[in-house]
């Protein structure tokens, strides 16, 4: 019983991070129909920035955890947003009307570029920080197993929930959200109605990057160790989450992330950590066999 609850907490934490990154994939796919493979690396850049800022703040003597975290978050969001915006501007916009494969290759190139850039400028070594929020609550003990809820896990789950609420409000209630959804449905028609499509797409990239930045900062605080290569694996997992939930669907991305997080921690716990990725991808294949557009995705209707 104790372990079940503990793994639920672990899975929820991990799934939240995957979900936040997956939102970026799914939003971009929704609006321009391409997979932004550089998104995982944007997340990595946020994590590296977080380490830099936290170390800097530490050396300046700013030790109050909430203040340090807030400053780090703001700096990371600003920088990664600029990255997200520039990536779209440099690598995708010139290819907007090219064949679908062109921006895909361009995205893979961008991902390799960003990874190597960080490796060359920041070094290949792993970058550790001291535990910022050590400790946690001991929830209860059953059969000699004490269930722990770390402060960092609470932070990740709460921040994700708040972000999700804000984000849903942004998409469903604001005029930007309406423009964004309009672009998703029909770009030409939206442009005819006098909406700046380019700006809406740029904003989508900026918001996606900002979500990835939050994920990157939280992961840095949670695991305490980052390096230039973390974007690849996280990106693949988050992309899988987006496809599982139905690519293009925002609640789907979050759901997909949570499912993958849960599978990973439960499979590690009760079966073998060796095969947890196999389990994830088998589930993905099964879902796609019976629901080709993912769990919450709407099938594409071809108008004749």
């Amino acid at each position: 019983m104790g372990q079940l609850i503990q793994q639920l907490i672990n899975g929820l934490t991990l799934g939240s991070v995957y979900g936040l990154i997956a939102l970026g994939y799914t939003m971009v796919y929704g609006i321009i129909g391409m997979i932004n493979f550089a998104h995982g690396d944007i997340y990595m850049i946020a994590a590296i920035i977080a380490v830099t800022v936290l170390t800097l703040l530490g050396s300046l003597g700013i030790m109050a955890v909430p203040v340090a975290l807030l400053i780090t978050l703001v700096v990371a969001i600003i920088f990664t947003s600029v990255y997200g915006w520039s990536v779209e501007r440099i690598a995708y916009r010139p290819l907007r009307n090219a064949s679908r494969l062109a921006p895909l290759i361009s995205a893979i190139g961008m991902s390799i570029f960003l990874q190597n850039m960080v490796q060359l400028t920041q070094g290949a070594r792993v970058k550790p920080i001291n535990a910022l929020l050590p400790g946690g609550f001991e929830l209860f003990t059953s059969n000699g197993f004490t269930v722990h809820l770390a402060y960092t896990q609470i932070m990740i789950i709460v921040v994700t929930a708040v972000l999700l609420a804000v984000f849903t409000w942004l998409i469903t209630k604001t005029s930007f959200g309406r423009q964004q959804r309009a672009c998703e449905q029909d770009r030409t028609m939206t442009a005819l109605l006098g909406i700046n499509v380019d700006r809406t797409i740029s904003m989508t990239f900026v918001i996606g990057a900002a979500l990835a930045a939050v994920a990157g900062v939280m992961v840095t605080v949670y695991y305490g160790v980052v390096d230039f290569s973390i974007g690849f694996l996280a990106g693949i997992k988050a992309f899988t989450a987006a496809v599982l939930g139905g690519i293009g669907s925002l609640p789907g991305a979050m759901l997909g992330g949570l499912i993958i997080g849960m599978i990973e921690s439960f499979w590690s716990a009760y079966l073998s950590p060796e095969y947890k990725d196999v389990a994830t991808f088998v589930l993905l294949i099964l879902v796609l066999m019976f629901r080709p557009s993912g769990l919450l995705g709407r099938p594409e209707v071809e108008k004749v």
């Binding site: 793994q7 070594r125 535990a131 946690g136 000699g144 695991y223 439960f266 590690s268 009760y270 947890k276």
Partner: protein, 368 residues
Amino acid sequence: MKSNMKQLIAMTGLGLGALFTAQAHADYSVAIAGPMTGAYASAGEQIKRGAEMAVADINAKGGVLGQKLKLEIGDDACDPKQAVSVANAMVNKKIVFMHGHWCSSSTIPASDIYNEAQIPMATVSTNPQVTERGLKNIFRIMGRDDQQGGIAGGYIASHFAGKKVAVIDDKSAYGKGLADEMAKGMTAKGLKPALRESITAGEKDYSGLVSKLKAAGVEVLAYGGYHTEVALILRQAKQAGMKLTVMGGDTMSNNELVTAAGGNADSVMFTFAPDARANPAAADVVKEFRNAKVEPDGYVLYAYAAMQLFQQAATQAKSVKYGDLQKALASGTFNTVVGKLSFDAKGNLKAPGFVVYQWKGNKYEMVK
């Protein structure tokens, strides 16, 4: 016919001339290869520091057989595919000696290429398979995983009797080999592993595994793999309110473990060759490294020793040709900063030694 003869003589002359000039100008290229980038880059850096210092010292004393040494550096990032292309590049650079690679999974495929190109190599890779494939060009200047695994397993069995021990590896050639040997060593001394699992290296989240260990009441983790994953497991164990003692292999000697584990590294024990820094014959070299602000721990002195090995073997053989060099390496005894080295028929170290260390703050100390 006559003119043909003349041509032949002229050509031979030219050829000889070219040969002589080539010999007079060409330095001997020696190479190191290992993870200069990637997650294990700190080990590559140790190798590089050690080899650079050794080559500089050898050159300052007049080089090898009157020729200066030139150091080539290959980066395989511990990726077997990249290791193969590094090996091919090194063959093209006409190196006469290789120290590398570092990860067993890189050394094994790369050694086939060096063997074909007849280049002798000295490696610190510990997987038994490195020297079990009948290659004559490979010499291991470190012990083997079956030796260090046996010692680690025996230590666990005698010091942690009655406690629950999990044996975990990272699925790499090195990690799995070592973990299997540790499990074997423990079982032979009467302590059966409570759990036997594998994880995926390069991930960040091991909380699922940590909770599983906690639920199973595991107190000791025998780990086959590299230090980066151990650091994460220790951090996450701490977060889950769990105290874990780790027993690992030679790779845990990397001081990056201490920073990455965030103050939880004191519970890490590992097997490694007896500390070469304590070797009286190495005192001068150790001082030289410290003057250059390099702490000669981990693989630094092994890289230095590998270059000494080449220098002494070439001097004994009076040649850098493969046949002569190989024979000298296989039959000789060499005095290096890591002690006397000599090899058996398979290229394994004749007298390997492993002792158990434990991290204490920023340093590791021998434990009894």
